[in-house]
């Protein structure tokens, strides 16, 4: 079974793929593959602003038409090229920028917001430009951040602006989180010859197959567990366990018993993992087909035996943002003589502050409109989620560190099972404070207290 699952590493399968797709693999040189991704990026760069403007035109002064989309695209391209130029000239930048490039980048976004908050919507074309930038920056900030990290380590020289478009406007998909990180990371994992490309593509096909498989499991879960009327539910003759979704339970806790509520909690965790795995496998699958053999976004998190292991495997590229932009910069600078404090501050800077900040700038429309009430309502319960997450990761990392220099004991199936169950329970519980819909903190906490029998 394991050999079957690892077909992409099998030399016979690789030879077979080379024989089957040989001419195509030969033609698809790294330069040509990049050109295809860049062409796709140009299409995305045009399509994305139009889509966003359509969403924003209700309140914004930006009308949703093709001409404006082209103008907007030009503005964004000019901005991106300016960032690229800054990255090229990084060593000759003022020392403050060289020392704090990420801070300067994010400060730019906040300055735009402050200007928007303090000017009239009838401000004119310059204000339209600022609105456009403010809408697009949350998607670009982490990607540009990776460009600046590369600049800091002298890795932008020799790259072309167009190559950076591959991840700045990724045709392979993504959210504000850059799956596959920046050009440096992509280049490091790029297939350089036909055999490496074949390996990468087979690994990509495997992920795409897994994505379809998990989609199927999700469909079954929807029908069998949550009672959604779908083909799976119909095949089962309408039979369902009728477990309520967690978001519904938080709003109406009385609709289920305590036992069912616990089942809902675990089911929600599994469902979240499935969702992330499906989306991540599709994106990374396409990247691997394009010859970038990068890490998966989700890798068997439900088999993790520690909290930190789960966090590392659940949403890899989000964790990487937290590690690259918050954890390591804090870890190498703060409390260097006190390991526990050092680790604590770095973990909280990443999993608490970084996590909250990431989700804050996702609320771009509310931010532009200065709708702080909506922002607070959406995020306030998440503060507690991030606090518990940080605490869990900190304790888990500290335990791992203290155990690190000793041989790892062999563990039985029962012990491993208990560890895995403990990790599931931790993430299932903290997920209560991580639900969409702006459910008040007090209401969520009351639900938790009812769950553990206190009220």
């Amino acid at each position: 079974m394991i050999r079957l699952l690892q077909f992409h590493e099998n030399s016979k399968v690789i030879s077979g793929w080379l024989a089957l797709a040989g001419p195509a693999l030969k033609w698809l040189t790294p330069a040509r593959r990049r050109t295809i991704l860049i062409a796709g990026a140009l299409w995305i760069a045009l399509k994305r602003p139009l889509k966003q403007m359509t969403k924003a035109h209700v309140w914004s002064e930006v009308p949703p038409d093709l001409i404006t989309a082209i103008v907007v695209t030009i503005i964004i391209f000019a901005f991106l090229w300016f960032c690229y130029w800054l990255a090229l000239k990084f060593t000759s930048m003022p020392s403050f920028i060289r020392r704090n490039p990420q801070l300067c980048l994010h400060a730019f976004f906040w300055i735009i917001l402050v200007v928007l908050w303090n000017t009239s919507p009838e401000g004119g074309i310059w204000r339209v430009v600022l609105v456009v930038l403010a809408i697009n920056l949350p998607f670009l900030l982490w990607r540009l951040g990776y460009m600046l990290i590369s600049a800091k380590h002298n890795k932008v020289a020799g790259t072309r602006f167009w190559e950076h478009l591959m991840y700045l406007a990724p045709v392979y998909g993504g959210t504000n989180t850059p799956y596959g990180k920046g050009l440096d990371f992509l280049s490091r994992h790029e297939a350089k010859d036909e055999e490496a490309l074949a390996r990468s593509q087979l690994a990509g096909i495997k992920l795409l197959i897994l994505a379809v498989l998990w989609q199927g499991v999700r469909l079954i879960m929807d029908g069998l567990v949550f009672g959604i009327n779908n083909p799976a539910n119909q095949v089962l003759g309408g039979f369902t366990l009728a477990v309520p979704r967690l978001g519904q339970l938080l709003k109406q806790p009385e609709i289920a018993s305590i036992g069912t509520a616990w089942v809902s909690l675990y089911c929600e965790l599994i469902y979240n993992v499935l969702n992330l795995a499906v989306r991540g496998h599709q994106i990374i699958g396409i990247l691997r087909l394009s010859g970038f053999y990068v890490f998966r976004n989700t890798y068997k998190p439900l088999l993790a035996e520690t909290i930190v292991e789960f966090w590392n495997r659940y949403y890899y590229y989000f964790k990487e943002i937290m590690a690259d932009f918050f954890f390591f910069p804090t870890f190498v600078s703060w409390f260097r003589k006190h390991f526990v404090l050092r680790l604590f501050s770095a973990v909280f800077m990443a999993a608490f502050f970084g996590n909250m900040y990431y989700h804050l700038i996702r609320l771009k429309y509310q931010l532009i409109q200065a709708d702080f009430n909506a922002i607070w309502l959406t995020l306030h319960a998440r503060l507690f989620y991030c606090f518990l997450l940080s605490l869990g990761i900190f304790i888990s990392m500290l335990r791992e560190h203290r155990r690190g220099r000793k041989p790892r004991p062999r563990r039985g199936l029962m012990q491993r099972g208990l560890s895995i169950f403990g990790v599931w329970t931790f993430f299932a519980i903290i997920n209560i404070w991580n639900q969409k819909g702006g459910i008040p903190f007090v209401q969520v906490t009351k639900f938790f207290l009812r769950l553990i029998g206190i009220i």
Partner: protein
């Protein structure tokens, strides 16, 4: 490979053996084999490598910053040590 680099390599491999995941042979890794991609360590183990380099070679990452590429292979880590502390044994 110079004698100094070989000594550093042996020290590094001893250290990696301590933090590696069970069942994977660190001794068989070449200088260019990827540590994380090979499954030998997870990406969070970079923290342990940072501590090792700070304590053993006195490298100051607060000035240098962390470039994850420099931790990706044994060879890259040795190059980093050579660039930062060429005089240290």
């Amino acid at each position: 490979m110079s004698e100094k680099r070989e000594q550093r390599r042996q020290g590094l491999v001893r250290f990696l053996r301590d933090i590696q995941k069970a069942g994977l042979p660190v001794d068989r890794l070449g200088d260019t084999d990827e540590l994380i991609a090979s499954g030998l360590i997870d990406s969070l183990a970079i923290l342990e490598i940072v501590l090792y380099l700070e304590q053993t070679y006195g490298i100051d990452f607060s000035v240098l910053g962390i470039d994850r590429d420099e931790f990706s292979t044994i060879g890259n880590i040795l190059d980093l040590i050579e660039r930062q502390k060429p005089e240290v044994n």
